[in-house]
Point group: C2
């Protein structure tokens, strides 16, 4: 059984890898039966596809492994999901969403349209390792501005 500390440390490492590849450092992990079954980061720049957010990638890997309902799965994400990912999360029927930093500007879960509110089915927990994840994002965008 993997601990949630292990998940968050893995997310930090995955986001670091993203930044090294000039991808915005956002990462996601899909957990089933206490085991990671999919993990990844944003690959928008690599594939020139603005929909390739980390959440979409791990959900899709989950669907290919377990079918179209991931009701026994938990999703861990470094940043509050955007509205596209929030609705994909709703469609996936995952059990629990855990996310790191809040995203007041682009988030769609606790901000903006709050797409997962009033759904009894999914439990939502935010604010994990917020300082670390925010620092990764700030460093990335501050380096971008310097180049």
């Amino acid at each position: 059984m993997e601990s949630s500390t292990h998940y968050w440390e893995t997310l930090i490492r995955l986001a670091e890898q993203a930044a090294l590849r000039n991808e915005v450092p956002i990462s996601a992990i899909l957990v089933h039966d206490n085991t990671i079954i999919a993990m990844g980061h944003n690959t928008v720049e690599t594939h020139n596809d603005p929909t390739l957010h980390a959440e979409m990638l791990v959900l899709k890997e989950g669907f290919s492994k377990l079918g179209k309902h991931l009701s026994d799965c938990d999703l861990y994400v470094s940043l509050e999901p955007c509205p596209m990912c929030a609705h994909a999360i709703k469609l996936s029927q995952i059990r629990r969403l855990y996310f790191g930093a809040y995203d007041p500007k682009g988030g769609g879960v606790e901000h903006g349209p709050r797409l997962l509110h009033n759904l009894n089915r999914i439990e939502i927990f935010g604010g994990f390792y917020e300082t670390e994840f925010n620092k990764q994002l700030q460093t990335f965008f501050s380096n971008l501005r310097k180049t």
Copy 2:
């Protein structure tokens, strides 16, 4: 140059094909320089992936052909896009969205979170061939209930 009548007739035909494959009859077409560069329908059941909406499929084909900004493209969809697709449409930076039937329950453009409102960048036109598209959906779900 293709006419918009041709696009709507193609969308009706694509949605019919979807229904024959036991997919919810929803279709999409991506147009660039007055030419269809991507078209398709919902393939959720075929691939066991609830995010494989028609809009996502044609946008992704568009990204692979033209890169991550589709600012010279117009998107035609048989039904008002859901919040996931609406936000993907926003990310794609397409120029115009034309859709058929309104979706008061599941839509995310003119209903629900209205995700594309207050964006100056994208023009939105809805209600085309509404009777036809609604009839396709009603027939599909009525047949489902009989089986």
